[in-house]
């Protein structure tokens, strides 16, 4: 009897301690989320993590040196060295100037092939689009399981540390975050629906409820966001554009002020949340059939933007998630509407967890779990000053201008490639363009040769 009692009481003690500790953590996080108060714990957390990562990298380098192996650093800057990009014409001049000075050399055709050959092989080795759609590489190890294979020289201490990290992340952080997320969504749906029944101060209270919901989400992801240039925060009656890395971008931005979201109506849990949201705040949800009708979409956006009291619309013009090292082509639809555009740049710090959603590799739920089991989601948000379409500028040029400003602020590469290339192929029109350029050069040479030949024929004495 005695051992039985003591075992039961031991279990009871453990259980109680666990629950108490969990509740304390829960309260510490929930209360500030609801009341908009910060406790400063996060700075301490981030600093500690940084120090641990630095120590880990040092250990790896030391152990690699001891075992006399190469510690190859990843090619985060690309494989090829970037020289000034020359046009087709300039390259041809260079190529021909090295040939004989004799006229009508047959080399002009043979040698030119070399230029295109080299360009082709260079694109095979390193091209911007494939790079932008694969996850970024880290320079130091951040103790996550995902990047463990790249660092085989770990040593005992690091492996233990990594094991501890796994325990903490999957045992403590993940369940805590999931519980928080569920509580947050639950509270939000209830409050939002109740606010929807109030006749008058619907939107004012609705905003407060939305902000609370987003704060909960942010806490549940352990996201640490720094907002820069808050004086440029988007105003009512405008459109806000941002670069897209993950669906959680919405939560990151909406933590600071409320936006009207644009999207398709979903079924299930997401549909429930959408319906709850729309009761207390004006969002633009489209039925699946309406999405195909571009004019309808444009009209609804226009109407919403024209009303200066309504919240700014949040749009991601790239149309797809990109891995946060570059910005792809902005689709011109949102720039045709004609109201003020507030660009916002988001840059994630990859040391604490990879935020990029590679939709061809894993689904949304898997992606959320990955983020929730990383250390943290650290990012910076820059608000850029508002931009308007200038005289004589069309939507495409305006989009390019906005994109350049955004890329410059966040330190991302500014690419002209279309994000749709994730799933489709390049149109033949681009190849035609290159062929046309080369043809012009060749034609010019051919014409001059013909003329010179004619001239020679006319004056047989020559010089």
């Amino acid at each position: 009897m005695q051992p039985c009692y003591s075992r039961v009481s031991l279990l009871l003690c453990l259980g109680i301690t666990f629950v108490v500790w969990f509740t304390i953590l829960f309260v510490i996080i929930t209360v500030p989320a609801v009341l908009e108060v910060s406790l400063g714990i996060h700075r301490f957390y981030i600093r500690t993590l940084c120090r641990v990562f630095e120590w880990a990298t040092l250990q790896i380098e030391l152990s690699a040196k001891q075992k006399n192996r190469q510690f190859s650093k990843p090619h985060t800057k690309g494989i090829l060295s970037k020289s000034k990009p020359l046009s087709v014409q300039e390259n041809m001049q260079e190529l021909r100037s090295s040939a004989h000075s004799r006229r009508s050399e047959p080399q002009f055709d043979m040698g030119d092939v070399i230029y295109f050959c080299r360009k082709g092989v260079e694109s095979i080795i390193d091209d911007e689009v494939t790079k932008s759609f694969s996850a970024q590489e880290l320079e130091s190890w951040n103790l996550l399981t995902r990047s463990i294979r790249r660092f085989p020289h770990r040593g005992l201490r690091l492996t233990l540390l990594w094991g501890l990290g796994v325990l903490i992340r999957y045992g403590i952080l993940l369940p805590l975050r999931v519980i928080l997320a569920v509580t947050g969504i639950f509270l939000f749906v209830i409050l939002s629906t109740s606010v929807g029944f109030l006749p008058n101060s619907k939107f004012f209270l609705g905003e407060k409820v939305h902000l609370m919901g987003y704060r909960f989400c942010v806490k549940s992801l352990t996201a640490f966001i720094t907002y820069h240039n808050s004086e440029n925060r988007p105003k009512n009656g405008s459109i806000c554009v941002a670069n897209h890395t993950t669906p959680l971008d919405v939560i990151i931005l909406a933590n600071d002020r409320c936006y009207s979201l644009v999207g398709q109506v979903h079924r299930g849990l997401l549909g429930l949340i959408q319906r709850a949201m729309v009761k207390s705040s004006p969002h633009i949800w489209f039925e699946r059939a309406e999405v195909k009708d571009r004019h309808l979409v444009a009209k609804r956006l226009c109407d919403h933007a024209a009303d200066k009291t309504k919240q700014p619309i949040l749009i991601f013009p790239e149309g797809t998630c990109v891995n946060n090292t570059s910005v792809m082509m902005f689709k011109k639809g949102s720039f045709e509407i004609g109201c003020t555009i507030f660009p916002v740049a988001i840059k994630y710090d990859f040391r604490f967890g990879d935020a990029y959603w590679n939709s061809s590799k894993f689904g949304l739920v898997h992606h959320l779990l990955r983020i929730m089991s990383s250390w943290a989601l650290v990012c910076s948000v820059w608000y850029l000053p508002p931009m308007n379409r200038e005289e004589g500028e069309d939507a495409v040029q305006f989009a390019k201008r906005v994109k350049a400003a955004l890329a410059a602020q966040a330190g991302l590469a500014d690419l002209t490639w279309d994000g749709g290339l994730k799933r489709t192929k390049v149109k033949d029109a681009f190849k035609e363009e290159q062929q046309r350029l080369y043809s012009e050069i060749l034609l010019k040479v051919h014409q001059t040769q013909k003329q010179e030949k004619c001239f020679e024929d006319e004056t047989p004495e020559g010089d």
Binding site: L80, P106, I114, G120, V121, S123, W417, Q434, S439
Partner: protein
């Protein structure tokens, strides 16, 4: 996923010798190979076709064929492969490696011959060791746009070029003589003056000098 990428360079010192790349470069190229193949062991023509930047290139199909051409594997076999492994990928890439300072004149000459061989193989599609007028015309046609330039002009340019080539080889050829085609030796001679070493190599980023600080 197979062996960890960091080990390929060390595992296979033979690769280093045969292709002339450093272990560092081999590792980077292996990562790129996995990216292109979708983490599989072989690459097919489809994988290379999917690269957007390559779609801009007029001679895209010739370049892709060059990767699957057995002649570029430093074998004496002729024909083409369906899929290539990483070793074969590296062998083709080795035609584009940059010349190092410690190379002797002999080695430089050998490298030049290699690059010329690559170009020759690209033109000579049926593998008979000669570039005929037809084969040559095909390459030129690919380079020229079918839209803005008439067929006549394209034909003129090709014929003029071919005539020049023929006349340097067989000086007193009449219009009825049948010209068999450009052989490799003749090809070498034609491009004698062209400085290929700097035109036909890939400039690798020197990763040793990249400072690995905090991101």
């Amino acid at each position: 996923m197979g062996a960890a990428p960091t080990r390929i360079g060390q595992q296979d010192p033979e690769l280093v010798e045969r292709t002339g790349f450093s272990p560092e470069q081999i590792n980077n190229l292996h990562k790129r190979f996995l990216q292109l193949s979708g983490n599989k062991d072989t690459i097919s023509r489809e994988n290379l076709n999917d690269i957007p930047a390559l779609a801009y290139n007029p001679i895209k199909s010739q370049i892709i064929e060059a990767f699957f051409d057995k002649r570029n594997q430093h074998d004496s076999e002729v024909g083409s492969l369906e899929e290539i492994t990483f070793q074969q990928f590296l062998m083709v890439m080795s035609h584009f490696r940059p010349p190092t300072l410690e190379m002797t004149a002999e080695e430089k000459e050998a490298m030049r011959k290699e690059k010329l061989r690559f170009l020759f193989n690209m033109h000579d599609t049926d593998g008979d060791g000669k570039i005929t007028l037809e084969e040559y015309r095909k390459v030129v046609e690919e380079l020229l746009s079918s839209g803005s330039i008439e067929q006549e002009s394209a034909k003129e340019i090709t014929d003029a070029a071919m005539l020049e080539v023929a006349s340097t080889n067989v000086p007193h050829m009449g219009p009825e003589d049948f010209y068999e085609g450009i052989t490799f030796e003749h090809f070498e001679q034609i491009l004698k003056g062209l400085e290929m070493e700097s035109r036909m190599h890939i400039r690798f980023l020197d990763t040793a000098t990249v400072h690995c600080g905090k991101s």
